[in-house]
Symmetry: C2
Subunit: 464 residues, 2 copies
Amino acid sequence: MTAQKTSIPKGTRDFGTTEMVRRNYIFDTIRSVFQRYGYKPIETPAMENLSTLLGKYGEEEDKLIYKIRSNKNFRERLSDKQVELLDSIYPHWLPDKSENALRYDLTVPFARYVVMHQNEITFPFKRYQIQPVWRADRPQKGRYREFYQCDVDVIGSDSLLNEVELIQITDEVFAELGMRFYTEIKLNNRKILSGVAEIIGMPDKVEDIAIALDKVEKLGMGKIIVELKEKNIINERNSGMIDLYIDSFKSKISNNDKIIFLKNILKDSDIGKKGIKELEYILNYLDQLKINVTLDYSLARGLNYYTGTIFEVKSSEAGLTSSIAGGGRYDDLTGIFGLPNVSGVGISFGADRIYDAMQEIKLFPENSGITTQLFFVNFGANEEKYCLPLIAEARKKGINTELYPDSAKMKKQLDYANSNNIPYVAIVGSNEMNSGMIALKNMHTGEQINMNFQDLVSYIISRK
Amino acid sequence: MTAQKTSIPKGTRDFGTTEMVRRNYIFDTIRSVFQRYGYKPIETPAMENLSTLLGKYGEEEDKLIYKIRSNKNFRERLSDKQVELLDSIYPHWLPDKSENALRYDLTVPFARYVVMHQNEITFPFKRYQIQPVWRADRPQKGRYREFYQCDVDVIGSDSLLNEVELIQITDEVFAELGMRFYTEIKLNNRKILSGVAEIIGMPDKVEDIAIALDKVEKLGMGKIIVELKEKNIINERNSGMIDLYIDSFKSKISNNDKIIFLKNILKDSDIGKKGIKELEYILNYLDQLKINVTLDYSLARGLNYYTGTIFEVKSSEAGLTSSIAGGGRYDDLTGIFGLPNVSGVGISFGADRIYDAMQEIKLFPENSGITTQLFFVNFGANEEKYCLPLIAEARKKGINTELYPDSAKMKKQLDYANSNNIPYVAIVGSNEMNSGMIALKNMHTGEQINMNFQDLVSYIISRK
């Protein structure tokens, strides 16, 4: 038989040990911060009914949803002639009609979950969810077809204290990951955008404005202005106001001065003023908690379900242009599934982009790939039997310990320890068995010391 | 818009907080034992190329593989008339030709991984992998379409010490989960079955015998004997020997006596004697390590890639008839992907079945659903601002703490704490703000004590 070529689908990845240990460090950090604030874990299945997902993300996004079929049922209802026809036009047909799809994000499954379990849930419901999602997107640097989202949401409360809490969480996550100096938390409110749409005489164009603003970083402001003119959102009557607004994006002024500016231009918009009031409330609490955020009223966040506060975290270093976390308030996420008027707010952390950023800034500790601390060289059956109880004892003390499975050449065994990043090697040959001592080799320095087993255990535990 | 009905695909599950905490307890326990023995984590993508999976599990199993399509490319190559035809015969067609599939188990992706990364790997390669797998199987009690496997394998070493180690791991996992008294580790060797096949004159029928033996528990020995007679595996010449072998299944004798029995009936089979020697080696080490296993030479394990030791764990309690862990040695798993003659041995733990068993035996600790320890009642803006720094401090000390986001009625807030299983509630109203004390309510006993903040922190930490 010829050997099959090995590969994996484009845009997907294998994770080796070092990557796994580092990824788990990110997940564990995020998870422990979420729990510290009282958020509770849930998980939903990888597969949802296709109908649960379709029509929730936009037309273009729907095309990126992976559809799943199993191999049953449909075939039985076709005539032989139909099967023949299918084979000739559509060789990829599958004899099933069930329509499932892979999770595209964690938000829609969460909305479905809340509605389906509404009688078991006590609101406000504070949940977090850390799971992979799948998108049939064109793979490129930093964009994968399988990637993890870490979502934290509170649903069923319209208190702005939730926004404050989510920003505390965001600040704490990046502080604990050592990324605080490399990240910026940006804050805005969709009502500001609605206010702007109102005062330029385009109250029903908020979506278009948000979508356009979202593309500024990618395309540049020039192209966006052309687009808005073509859509007749910028016209002769309002272009002065828009110039004023856009010009202000460039100025580096304090959050307070930005509030003053907004109060000035939005003085005739009720919704605009409401947005400013919400921002002031949040900024006031964050001041008290000494948490830095940047009020950025050019921030839009494309998704059309946001209705209030929006936030986003960018990493200025490491050449990252895309956000590594983002979210906002939505007033009616569960309405489509039959539970209207439930307000919620949440933020999603992109673990893969955080990983890539931490990698580039070299933030992972040097020993973050180590899983085994102690390695026993295998000299043969007698030594094996002598060592096995010692190894069991070391493991009981919490030391991850390995014994080489064969009495191979010493060099081969040390090479194994070396390439597995094992820091300590215990050598127990006939001399050591006679003397009751163990030769412990430090693989980093090459130094070798004789000690008894109890001292060896204490030594390694103290150096973990 | 009419609300959409909420449901999830048959055979899949949502996991709420209590289930999550318990499941994570199982995963964490298994993971820490694996690491204690020096096994290293890897992960592979949920999607593999369909060709990687097909033809590895058997014809029936191939039908249970979920196939995935994205929404691209194929449509463009069809004429309008072809599209019309497709729509009429096969309304479920998808405009893509790419063929991916969801992981069916962790073993084949592992083999693919080893071959693909062979130049980065140092052999023997000790890896573990804890991930979900998907099977389009008929859902029933204890059988899901999405479920987790926890696999631990060592590949590239034919030392029987690996078998001993995997049994140590198995014993330790169930001991730590509190299941040692409810489980039995069964041990056999495929070479014993080959020996039996040889001495009954059917050396090429080992597979059929293994498949038949696998069904004994489900169908009863009577039906299996009929099946083997129909297949002409049992005939007049060998039925005496087979009766002897099958009769011995019923006797409850020691492992030693079983070895004596096997030595007797397999005295003329070289492969049988080799199997006995391997079993004796393993049993000898397990004796020394005081680990109990049951030699069960009726154990077969259907999968045809096993070539040596096989093991299985059954839970005698909780009405479970299916295995909760199992595995064995395979001599050539990676051959099909172009890396021949690499021997490996591994075991897979079925986390979902372990969960169900622990649930039925009531092995989960009562507080295993608790994630938040301390809840602050919200009395309004002033109290909020007074409490926020205290809450931040409690979290810094590692206490998972919540503040209710609104100054709702006391009863509503306590109900919330109650239904979220939060054990302690801190009450800070104007009296407490004046006195600098906090009223701490034990939600289990109803008892309420006044104390200062530092004492409260120590109190809760000591009771975690």
